[in-house]
Point group: C2
Chain length 319, copies 2
């Protein structure tokens, strides 16, 4: 599936090249790896992170081959983290399909995730830029640390999760990869230091907003759109921004009472009807305004326009 | 524990620095990561891989800080792979102690392994040498691919495992890391291309021999030396070189009959008494002779002498 997000039009050819690189990484001829990798790599996902990398490259002067490696490496890192996420959460479904974890079991899913980490490292190394490679290694560490902090909270009382902790978690989980795509490509494209800092901030804000919107959709999407039951996060004990906003809107007694019920239907209904969704939406809008502001540091032109229009796509999307 | 292997005397200071770097990576002040990392990082293991990296560095002209990063990165990669190995094998014990997997569970052990991969990447990137970093990423891929092939064989008939498949598996599992330590440091030390090739071959042969000896010890060591029951590999369904040698020594009927018993006692006894151990030992000796031959490409001196004496240590060790 080549993405149909309109902001990606400028980099359709690059995205097609990424798709071919991913299909190649899936080792179609390998009897063991081929079938497992083909469950997670080709034709899945919106390719938002590669598109960010490719569009950012267009802000400057880039070597097409190196930029392709960067865009592919970022998507492979994303894929690796999803495979291990499903292991950690013991998830059955992702995007409406059975997860690799469910299909091949814990052991092989751990190893396939490791293999994808290795392949993403190979792609980032192939950019030949030590600064970019260093950013890649830092990103990997941030992602893991964020996941460990989330997993360690486990069954401890999530209800007291602060807004700051929430943003820290989603930074590691989502925004760090957006930063890698944007900052890494800005370096490869030879942008000025102030433009690199701007693109880092753009990736950071866009990534946070993207995850906030994801967490909102978990409450207001339909099961068909989500590919999983509505309110899955809170049902599994994960507190996200809409619930934190709900806590700000009702009394501590009401909040505790809502959580007294086992299946979380009351919490889900309250999030949908109390104005919590609108408050969370306002936070996403603020983040996206900051992302657009940060873009001012980048050179004007069609690539910057596309990056700006992406900030609107992020908030309007339903899946 | 600073290693007491005599061949390491030349690099005692460097090994002490690696130990401090590992203790630092264990994040003693971090409430979540500290306790988990301290279970796997400091004071454990013989530090054979860092010693190889440090000794190889001494063959040429090296920057102490970069070499330290290399030596630490290799040991972190080793640690990461052990953590995931225990997840994949659902192992309770390693070196006589409970594994991280047993202590903190599947999810956190997966994430801590990922975190260690990230930290090892950070260290290798800190060498600043793209050729070394690229070797690191390739090594990671080889290790994963080897593990996947081993895990995929799973409960399929292991009895037909060929010698070639066995060596492929242990190359990915063990020798690839020895190669990274030796070849990576040879590059950092500015050795000639022929010396780099020689050190690559030395690491390759030493690593294979090390694993063969490990697989022999699994049959002839005591439970106290092994920190786990004798014959654990074959009891868990993993065929190693001593069993392949046994298959060469007895008839197919005898071999099948030996495996008919559930607890593998007959197989273990046969390996110990049939001459299979001696055959496997001869293969290790041959590999070590090749490792010594490869050393001829490296500059003579105390570091090369220490690397040569390591080939004797590998075959004489009991743990």
């Amino acid at each position: 599936m080549i993405s149909t997000v309109s902001s990606f039009a400028l980099v359709q050819d690059g995205l097609a090249a990424v798709e071919r690189a991913l299909a190649d990484t899936a080792q179609p001829d390998h009897p063991l790896l081929g079938p497992m990798l083909s469950m997670v790599l080709p034709g899945s996902g919106k390719r938002l992170r590669p598109a960010l990398a490719l569009l950012t490259g267009r802000l400057g002067t880039y070597d097409a081959e190196r930029l392709l490696q960067m865009a592919t490496g970022v998507e492979l890192l994303h894929g690796a983290s999803l495979v291990h996420d499903d292991v950690v959460d013991e998830s059955d479904l992702r995007r409406g399909s059975q997860t690799l974890f469910t299909r091949v079991g814990n052991a092989l899913a751990v190893l396939v995730g490791d293999y994808l980490f290795a392949q993403s490292a190979n792609r980032c190394v192939a950019t030949g830029d030590v600064r970019v490679i260093s950013l890649f290694a830092q990103t990997l560490a941030s992602m893991c640390q964020g996941q460990i902090e989330e997993a360690s909270r486990g069954n401890a009382p999530q209800m007291t999760l602060t807004r700051e902790q929430y943003y820290q978690t989603i930074w590691g989980k989502t925004a760090s990869l957006f930063v890698l795509a944007c900052e890494g490509s800005a370096i490869l494209a030879g942008l000025s230091e102030s433009a690199i800092v701007g693109m880092r901030r753009y990736g950071d804000r866009l990534g946070l907003a993207f995850q906030v919107v994801d967490d909102i959709l978990d409450f207001i999407g339909t099961e068909a759109e989500l590919g999983k039951p509505v309110g899955s996060d809170v049902r599994q004990g994960t507190i996200t921004l809409p619930v934190i906003c709900l806590r700000d809107l009702i009394s501590p007694e009401q909040f505790r009472a809502a959580f007294a019920e086992d299946d979380r239907t009351v919490v889900i209904d309250l999030v949908r009807t109390s104005g919590a969704v609108e408050l969370a939406q306002a936070e996403a809008d603020r983040l996206l305004a900051e992302a657009r502001e940060a873009l001012a540091e980048a050179p004007a032109g069609p690539a910057r326009d596309a990056l700006e229009s992406l900030t609107h796509y992020v908030v309007e999307r339903r899946v």
